[in-house]
């Protein structure tokens, strides 16, 4: 036990998201003590390409940690542990000796590996990947992104084989830097992040040689796979001495933050994309409806817990696109104000297949459409269509979930950056036809990372106690009549049908 133990009042966590990095400090009753946030740049070098600068992300993380401590007048000795939740699949390769990234991080939304994925599928089929990893071969996952970098940066393949270049998802990149970087940083990842690479065997929870071989990834560059909740190492500045004690993909962290610890518990997080995750217990469930079979979390030496996931690539990102690329609103929340200037969508449907379609369709050849345009449509209708797209996509995923799991959800727990949008939450309840509930800590990603870190060091004793912190902060009840709901859904499906088969083989 360290000497700081008596001072333990708080636990800190980092939520390194697609849009921004945040640091939260929580007390033992899961109340927010301090928060700091900083956005980072989105790079779009070509259509379909999305990159982040890993050094900018690391600088921002250092910054938000420092600011969060300053705001509440805290020092590192007040903290029992630091937890990490991160945007998943985003791929960083860096030089072990200098710590410098060899390229910008390739973001999870990036579709540059489209052709590569088709080649891999042609050669190895989908079956082996589905069976071993629970995932389809898709541009979404890290493995092909690694392969693309190895193919396009001269000399990288040799350096990777020699172990001079390391791979990591954002969790690994942050832990390595936090625990010393080139001077002894720990090169680790957790099972949830590793489960998104197409390289890890879902049962063995280890890198699978057949998968490494099929995608062409040298084992020497891969991090060690650990549980989601255990001390990985001690942090250096700006929180010197604090154990880094959890790492989870943000969606898995949100599941923990929502205290979905029982099989059958589910949540959907609405951020840049939206991710519907259902706890399926200690065994993976195979999907026959386009869902992913993935890890929920693994708490220290306890048995791993599995999940079904419906991943939607573009939801909040569409609002951001509406703001930044069309300039029709000045901030994301203003979309609600604009949408409320009209009564309905005016017949307009927007399918944001910017990165192809994810669950349940998995069509990388799809691209976005706005359907039902007439001279009547104004910017208010477009704003409605933007928000409604999130709800219809969630409905598609929920239907797949109900079929795969063989049980219908009776209510949905929600969280994420879009949940303050009241119009959207009501529409969501309307088209799902179940009550939608928001918990009193909307920042479930941060909370989940804090819970797992706090559990790892004994700040909290077990998951049962954490459930007591969950309270309903808001609830939206369905109020749309069945006819309207089904007519809307029919139109939505027609619009979706118009997105596929857009990208040609020779592009």
């Amino acid at each position: 036990m360290g000497p700081g133990r008596l001072n333990w009042r708080y636990v800190a966590s980092i939520d390194q998201g697609t849009a921004s990095s945040r640091c939260f400090v929580f007390d033992d009753r899961a109340r927010i003590v301090s928060v700091a946030q900083h956005e980072h740049r989105q790079h779009f070098p070509r259509p379909g390409w999305v990159e982040h600068d890993p050094e900018e992300i690391w600088r921002n993380v250092e910054l938000v940690v420092r600011v969060a401590l300053d705001k509440a007048d805290l020092s590192p000795t007040d903290l029992c542990a630091l937890g990490i939740a991160n945007q998943r699949e985003t791929t960083v390769l860096w030089d072990r000796r200098t710590g410098a990234p060899v390229h910008n991080a390739i973001n999870w939304q990036d579709t540059r590996t489209d052709r590569l994925c088709r080649e891999i599928t042609r050669e190895h089929g989908q079956e082996m990947f589905r069976e071993k990893t629970g995932l389809p071969v898709s541009t979404y996952f890290s493995g092909p992104k690694i392969r693309w970098l190895l193919d396009h940066i001269p000399g990288l393949q040799e350096r990777a084989e020699a172990g001079e270049v390391l791979f990591g998802t954002i969790d690994s990149w942050l832990i390595w830097n936090l625990t010393g970087g080139p001077g002894g940083g720990r090169h680790v990842t957790d099972v949830t992040n590793a489960s998104r690479t197409l390289l890890m065997n879902l049962q063995a929870l280890d890198w699978d040689p057949a998968l490494l071989d099929a995608i062409g990834v040298p084992a020497a560059m891969l991090p060690e796979i650990r549980s989601s909740s255990e001390p990985y190492g001690e942090a250096g500045p700006p929180i010197a001495g604090v154990p880094v004690a959890s790492a989870l993909g943000d969606q898995h962290a949100a599941l923990v933050g929502q205290t979905c610890f029982n099989p059958g518990d589910a949540k959907c997080t609405f951020g840049t994309g939206s991710f519907f995750v259902l706890n399926t217990g200690e065994r993976p469930v195979t999907s026959s409806n386009g869902l992913l079979s993935t890890l929920a979390y693994k708490l220290g030496s306890a048995e791993p817990v599995y999940a079904l996931e419906g991943s939607i690539a573009v939801t909040g990102a569409l609002v951001q696109w509406f703001r930044d690329n069309l300039g029709l609103i000045g901030s994301a929340p203003e979309i609600e104000t604009l949408a409320l200037t009209v009564e309905d969508n005016g017949g307009c449907y927007f399918v944001p297949a910017f990165s192809g379609l994810f669950a349940p369709h998995w069509r990388s050849d799809a691209r976005g459409v706005i359907a039902g345009l007439t001279g009547y449509i104004n910017k208010g209708h477009l704003a409605r269509a933007v928000l409604e797209a999130t709800a219809w996509q969630t409905r598609e995923v929920m239907e797949a979930m109900n079929t795969d799991y063989g049980r219908s959800l009776s209510a949905l727990r929600v969280d994420g950056g879009m949940t303050p949008n009241n119009l959207l939450m009501q529409f969501l309840a309307d088209v799902l036809d179940v009550p939608v509930m928001r918990p009193i800590v909307a920042e479930t990603v941060s909370l989940g990372a804090a819970y797992t870190a706090g559990l790892a060091v004994g700040f909290w004793q077990g998951t049962d106690g954490l459930r007591k912190n969950w309270h309903r902060a808001a609830e939206w009840l369905p109020s749309m009549d069945t006819g309207a709901r089904e007519r809307g859904y029919r139109k939505w499906k027609k619009a979706v049908a118009r997105t596929v088969d857009w990208v040609d083989d020779d592009e």
Partner: protein, 254 residues
């Protein structure tokens, strides 16, 4: 009907431009947009500045809407934006106090509820976002009115309907209560809207120190008050939370 006054039309055009997306413009930019001589625009700006409708940014020399005008506009800050920015702090207030939390803005002399957090006891409660409450019988309304002098001045005798025997219906008494609220920074209402329930509220300010909303907790009198006085710790919770939102909006440096 007399003809329209050109200089007022021009002043209105300037204000409209300053309320647009960029929100801060120089004399040359305004003159260019309006196709008017710079001297003319400058003269109008000086007049608008004198009445507090525009102000000049010290660093850039550019002009922006002034505080007097912002006080008059009821929804300078988009209510949906306010909800999004206040979410974490409103949740925290509900957790600390164990009571329901509301955020309100002024809307045509009523309080518009833009955010509502349930009392964290998992009992059935209905979301009240979008509903309107009377300004003079809620802590939210009082906290909002206390910082909008021109609205208070407009209150006519007999304009304050009674909801319970405790409702303040006398305009003069109400005005002096608002003065006290402006001084101490928080408002309370004890059984003035519904029998047996009370609310405590404090204003939320933006970076220009303009009151853009107010945040409250509400619950039974016996939980929120000692006798007819609000409990000190609840007043502290409300003040801290509304100050945190004001900080979030840039009113006070951290």
């Amino acid at each position: 009907m007399p003809g329209r006054i050109q200089s007022i039309e021009r002043a209105a055009a300037i204000l409209r431009l300053l309320s647009g997306r960029s929100r801060r413009l120089g004399v040359a930019e305004l003159a260019g947009e309006l196709r008017l001589p710079k001297g003319t625009v400058y003269g109008i700006l000086r007049t608008l500045q004198a009445v507090g409708f525009v102000e000049q940014d010290r660093d850039s020399g550019k002009y922006q809407l002034g505080p007097a005008l912002l006080h008059m506009g009821s929804s300078y800050l988009d209510g949906n934006e306010l909800r999004t920015r206040a979410l974490n702090w409103a949740d925290g207030l509900a957790t600390r106090s164990g009571e329901s939390v509301r955020i309100g803005t002024l809307h045509e002399n009523q309080v518009l509820i833009v955010h509502h957090v349930f009392r964290p006891d998992d009992t059935h409660q209905a979301l009240e976002v979008g509903s309107l409450l009377p300004v003079h019988a809620t802590a939210l309304g009082k906290a909002l009115l206390a910082h909008h002098d021109y609205l208070v001045a407009e209150l006519a005798p007999g304009s304050l309907p009674s909801y319970t025997p405790a409702t303040v219906t006398d305009v003069y008494r109400f005005r002096s209560e608002l003065e006290a609220i402006a001084q101490r920074g928080w408002a309370v209402e004890v059984g003035e809207l519904f029998h047996g329930s009370a609310s405590i509220a404090a204003p939320i300010e933006d970076r220009r120190r303009v009151t853009v909303g107010a945040m409250s907790i509400a619950g039974p009198i016996e939980r929120l008050c000692d006798g007819r006085q609000p409990r000190a710790e609840f007043v502290d919770y409300v003040m801290e939370a509304s100050r945190a939102v004001s900080r979030e909006l840039g009113a006070i440096p951290w």
